[in-house]
C-alpha cells in the first residue's frame, strides 16, 4: 500500500553525538544524577535501541537529546551535537524550538497523552504547521493524510477525530504521524509502545521498521523491553543507573552479552519456544537513591558475578572490540 509522498531530500541521514552529558535532578534529599557523564553516538540512519529499567535515566537522556529536560532536572554538563545543526545545548531557544519537530521528532508514551484533548487531530496538524511557519498548510494536511494512510489508518476519519475517539494503538500512530509530518530526520520513540498490547505494539514497530527503510530515518528507540529492541534495533545501548553499561550491534550483543546486567535482561525474557524454565528472573530491584550514593559499580548489589574489585570504584566504559563497549571489571579481567 505504498502512497506517493512528495519528493524530499532523504539523502543524508542525521546522526547525534552525545559527549560527557550529565543531568541531575534537584530534590530535597540532594542531587540525583539521572544521567552521568554519558558518551554516546547515535549513528545516522540506524535504529538505536536504548534499554533500561525505570530509574535508569533513559527517558531523561531522551529529553536531553532535545534539550528539553523538565524541572527539577537540569543539564549540568556536556554537549549534544546533531549533524548539520550543532550543539542542541548551545543554539538559541528559537532555533531549538524549530529543530524540535522539524528535524527531530518525538513520540511520547501512549499513557501520557501528548495530544490536545480539546481539538481535532487535523487542527493540531495545522497548529503545528503554523508554529513552524509552514507556508503551504494545505499541502501539509495532505502530507499528514498520506502519512496516516501509510500508517494503516482511515485518514479522513482520524483527522476529524478527537484523541479520545482513538484507541491506544491509533493514538500512537497519530503520534508517529506528528513526529514525521514536518519530515523529521531523527525520530525519538520514548516508551512509545509500552502501554500497548502485543499486537498493537508489533504493528507500530512494523510501521517504524518500514518507515525507517523508506526514509533513511535515524531512530532512537527507548524502552524497558528487551524484546522490542531485540526485534527492531540495529544497535543496542544498555543503560543502568544513569550510566551506560554496554552497547553493541544487536545480534552480537544478544548472542554474546558481556555485562552481567545485559545477560540478566536477556535471560529474563520468557519465550514461546524451548524450555520456559530457562528464563531466569533478574535479582533485586531497580537502582534507587541509595544506589547512586555508592562508589563502586552501580550494579554491584544485583550482580551474580561480582568480585572484590567491583566495590572499589566505577568500572570504566570502554571499547572491547569493534563497535562494542562495556563497563565491567569482570570483562576487563578476562582480557
Amino acid at each position: 500500500m505504498s502512497v506517493e509522498n512528495k519528493v524530499e531530500d532523504f539523502s543524508t541521514p542525521i546522526g547525534v553525538h552525545v559527549r560527557n552529558l550529565s543531568v541531575v535532578y534537584e530534590t530535597n534529599q540532594g542531587q540525583i544524577p539521572a544521567v552521568n557523564h554519558v558518551d554516546l553516538d547515535i549513528a545516522a540512519g540506524e535504529i538505536t535501541g536504548i534499554i533500561g529499567e525505570s530509574g535508569s535515566g533513559k527517558s531523561t537522556l531522551a529529553m536531553a537529546l532535545m534539550n528539553s529536560v523538565s524541572k527539577p532536572g537540569r543539564i549540568t554538563n556536556g554537549s549534544v551535537i546533531v549533524d548539520g545543526i550543532g550543539d542542541m545545548l548551545k543554539i538559541s531557544n528559537e532555533r531549538q524550538r524549530r529543530v524540535r519537530g522539524k528535524q527531530i521528532g518525538f513520540v511520547f508514551q501512549a499513557a501520557q497523552n501528548s495530544l490536545n484533548p480539546l481539538s481535532r487531530i487535523g487542527h493540531q496538524v495545522l497548529d503545528l504547521g503554523r508554529s513552524h511557519q509552514v507556508g503551504d498548510l494545505r499541502s501539509l494536511l495532505r502530507h499528514a493524510r498520506d502519512l496516516l494512510i501509510r500508517l494503516g489508518m482511515d485518514a479522513d476519519r482520524v483527522l476529524m477525530s478527537y484523541q479520545h475517539e482513538l484507541s491506544g494503538g491509533m493514538r500512537q500512530r497519530v503520534g508517529i504521524m506528528f513526529a514525521l509530518v514536518l519530515d523529521a530526520r531523527v525520530v525519538i520513540l520514548d516508551e512509545s509502545t509500552t502501554a500497548l498490547d502485543m499486537l498493537s505494539q508489533a504493528s507500530v514497530l512494523e510501521i517504524v521498521r518500514e518507515l525507517h527503510q523508506e526514509r533513511g530515518l535515524t531512530i532512537v528507540l527507548i524502552t524497558h523491553d528487551m524484546g522490542v529492541v531485540a526485534d527492531l534495533a540495529d544497535r543496542i545501548v544498555v543503560m543502568y543507573g544513569g550510566e551506560l553499561a554496554e552497547e553493541g550491534p544487536t545480534e552480537d550483543l544478544l548472542r554474546q552479552p558481556q555485562h552481567p546486567y545485559t545477560r540478566g535482561l536477556i535471560r529474563a525474557i520468557p519465550r514461546i519456544s524451548g524450555n520456559p524454565d530457562e528464563a531466569i528472573a533478574l535479582n533485586g530491584s531497580p537502582p534507587d537513591l541509595q544506589t547512586f550514593a555508592q562508589s563502586g559499580c552501580l550494579f554491584y548489589d544485583r550482580c551474580p558475578d561480582r568480585i572484590a574489585e567491583c566495590q572499589a570504584g566505577r568500572p570504566i566504559y570502554k571499547e572491547i572490540s569493534d563497535g562494542k563497549k562495556v563497563a565491567c571489571y569482570k570483562v576487563d579481567r578476562r582480557d
Partner: protein
C-alpha cells in the same frame, strides 16, 4: 502452608518487629519546620488558640476604663490605642477573640462533619441515598446564607457561640459535600476499593479506612478555610449590628468604631477600627501560611521514605 519463597528474596520468618513509621505528630512537626512560612503560620495559629482559650482570663471581667485616655494614640501603655471609654484596644482584641474563634471553630466542625459524612455516603452508595442527599445539598447551596443569617438573628439568640457556629455550619456544608462526593466517586472506581470489597471488608470500613484517608488533606484544608470564612461571616453580622451585642468581640468593635466612634471620618478613632481588622488579617495570614503544610501532613504520597 510454608512456601519456599523465590531465591532472590530469602525467606525471613520473623515476627513483625515494631519498627513503625514516625507518629503522625512527629512527622507533622518535621513537615512544619521544613519551611519558615509554615512555622510562622503555625505560631500565629497557636497564638490565636491561646488567645481564645486564656484571653479572657488575663483581664478582669470588666475591663478597666480610663477617662483620661479616650482614643489615646498608640503608646507603650496602650499598644493598639484605646476606645471611646479609654479601654485598651489590645485587651478588647484579646478578650474578644474567644467568641469569634469558638464560633468559627464550631462552624468549621459542623461543616466538615456534615459535608464529609454526607459526601462520602452519597458518593459511595449512590442510588437512592445519593439522590436524596444531593437534592438536599442543592437546596442548601441555593440558600443565600448571609441574608438567612440576618433573618435568623432576629429570632435567634446568638449570645452562645455554639448557636452561631451551628447556623454558619448548617448553611455552609453544601460545597464540601459536593466536593467530597465527587472525590469519593472517582476513588470508588479505583482498584483498591474494588479489592477491599472483594476481600469482604464492610462498607463502613471502606468508607472510614480506605476512602477517608485519601480525602483527608482536602478536608483538613477545608476545615481551616471554613474557619476564616466563618470568622468573616460572623464579624460581618456583628458589624452590621443585626445581632445583639451581648459580649465583646471583634465584630462589635468594628461596628462601634464605624457607627459610634466615626472612625471613617476622624483620625483619632482609627486605632479602634484598625485593631480588630489587624487581628483578622494576621489570623488569615497564619492560616494561609499553614495550609501549605496541611496538604503534606495528610497526604502520605508526599511523606518521605
Amino acid at each position: 502452608m510454608a512456601l519456599p519463597a523465590s531465591k532472590l528474596d530469602p525467606p525471613v520468618n520473623q515476627l513483625v518487629v515494631s519498627k513503625s513509621n514516625p507518629s503522625f505528630w512527629t512527622s507533622s512537626w518535621r513537615i512544619i519546620v521544613k519551611k519558615p512560612g509554615r512555622v510562622i503560620g503555625f505560631i500565629i495559629i497557636l497564638l490565636y488558640i491561646f488567645m481564645g482559650l486564656f484571653g479572657p482570663m488575663l483581664y478582669p471581667k470588666q475591663l478597666p476604663i480610663d477617662p483620661n485616655a479616650i482614643y489615646a494614640p498608640i503608646s507603650w501603655k496602650y499598644p493598639l490605642g484605646t476606645d471611646f471609654e479609654g479601654t485598651s484596644n489590645l485587651a478588647l482584641v484579646i478578650t474578644g477573640a474567644r467568641y469569634v474563634l469558638f464560633a468559627a471553630f464550631m462552624a468549621a466542625i459542623f461543616t466538615v462533619v456534615f459535608g464529609t459524612v454526607l459526601g462520602l455516603v452519597s458518593g459511595y452508595f449512590l442510588g437512592f441515598s445519593d439522590s436524596v442527599i444531593m437534592r438536599i445539598t442543592d437546596f442548601i447551596l441555593t440558600i443565600p446564607s448571609f441574608p438567612l443569617l440576618v433573618v435568623l438573628s432576629t429570632v435567634w439568640n446568638f449570645g452562645q457561640p455554639v448557636a452561631m457556629g451551628f447556623v454558619l455550619g448548617i448553611t455552609g456544608w453544601g460545597g464540601l459535600a459536593r466536593a467530597v462526593r465527587s472525590q469519593t466517586l472517582s476513588l470508588r472506581e479505583r482498584g483498591f476499593i474494588e479489592a477491599a470489597r472483594s476481600l469482604g471488608l464492610s462498607p463502613m470500613h471502606i468508607l472510614m479506612r480506605e476512602i477517608l484517608p485519601n480525602v483527608g488533606s482536602y478536608i483538613a484544608m477545608n476545615l481551616l478555610l471554613t474557619i476564616t470564612g466563618s470568622i468573616y461571616a460572623e464579624v460581618g453580622l456583628f458589624f452590621l449590628g443585626v445581632v445583639p451585642f451581648q459580649v465583646n468581640n471583634w465584630g462589635v468593635m468594628l461596628n462601634l468604631a464605624v457607627f459610634s466612634a466615626g472612625a471613617m471620618s476622624s483620625a483619632q478613632a482609627l486605632p479602634y477600627l484598625l485593631s480588630p481588622m489587624l487581628a483578622l488579617l494576621i489570623l488569615t495570614l497564619g492560616i494561609v501560611l499553614f495550609l501549605d503544610a496541611v496538604d503534606e501532613m495528610f497526604n502520605p504520597r508526599l511523606k518521605e521514605v
